[in-house]
């Protein structure tokens, strides 16, 4: 065998050896990948299995909660009226009246009365129980919130005015007396004998 042939054989053996080493290493790496993918598939399978009923359960919970919300909103509107219901909700959750009630699309455009500015949250909670709630009878923390017998301004302030129905400040009473800034002429007929009409 010529020397060139022997060298050729050695080189080919080197190539084959390199192929064997690298391919075996690659096979080992691919087996690790396959084992890892088996774990992944098992984990994903568990996730799919565990999350399968979630959609139905959550949908059912939402349906029940929607029914409860509709029931409470309907009851509140029926018992308190749309305006007062909006005012009560807006008093408890400021800004909530802008969204309105879900079952009453027109409620979003209504103007809620300013109940929250007059009554406290605790009173509003009582008021939610009904229009007959003792919202003005007594307050454990102090005096009554408004005079139920004589006062009407607080009640009138609950509702926004469509137009100005009264002056914000009444005109001041005129100053009278000798040192008054404005002196009025004394009428001569005041205190004088009453004129008598000629007899017929």
């Amino acid at each position: 065998m010529p020397a060139a042939g022997a060298v050729l054989l050695v080189i080919v053996m080197l190539i084959v050896l390199a192929l064997v080493v690298y391919l075996v290493s690659t096979i080992l790496a691919l087996r690790q990948i396959a084992a890892g993918l088996d774990d992944v598939i098992a984990g994903v399978g568990e996730i799919v299995q565990k999350s399968a009923p979630v959609n139905d359960v959550v949908t059912d919970i939402n349906a029940n909660l929607d029914a409860g919300v509709d029931l409470l909103e309907g009851l509140l509107v029926r018992k308190a009226g749309m305006d007062d219901a909006l005012g009560l909700v807006d008093g408890l959750y400021p800004g909530a009246a802008a969204a309105g009630f879900r079952s009453f699309p027109d409620s979003a455009t209504a103007t809620p009365p300013r109940i929250g500015e007059v009554y406290t949250k605790g009173t509003l909670t009582l008021a939610r129980l009904g229009r007959e709630a003792p919202i003005a009878m007594a307050n454990p923390a102090g005096p009554v919130l408004r005079n139920v017998e004589g006062g009407s301004r607080a009640a009138r302030m609950l509702y926004p005015e469509g137009r100005q129905e009264h002056a914000e400040n009444l005109p001041r009473s005129p100053v009278i007396g000798t040192d008054a800034p404005v002196q009025y002429e004394q009428r001569e007929d005041i205190g004088a004998p009453r004129k008598r009409l000629p007899a017929r």
Partner: protein, 86 residues
């Protein structure tokens, strides 16, 4: 004889380095996938463990039903007790 030597040189200087380079690239790519797959497997296992509380949703569902039923009864009583606004 000269052609034999030329072939040997080509094999030694061109073919063998090319084969080693290509196989080394394949092996490097295969080995780089292994840690990624292990991380994905760990995340999948953690995600599966996080969903262990899903059966509690059934309890939540039952309690929501009971609560809404109680609220409905309470609302019905209020509807009877209180007068309507209009």
């Amino acid at each position: 004889m000269t052609l034999w030597w030329i072939g040997d040189i080509v094999l030694l200087l061109v073919v063998l380095p090319a084969v080693v380079y290509l196989l080394h690239g394949v092996l490097g790519a295969a080995r780089s996938i292994v840690p990624s797959v292990r991380q994905i497997a760990d995340v999948a296992a953690a995600g599966s463990k996080d969903l262990d509380a899903v059966p509690l949703l059934l309890t939540t569902q039952d309690q929501v039903r009971q609560t809404v039923a109680v609220v409905a009864d309470y609302g019905g009583s209020l509807d009877v007790i209180l007068d309507d606004a209009s």
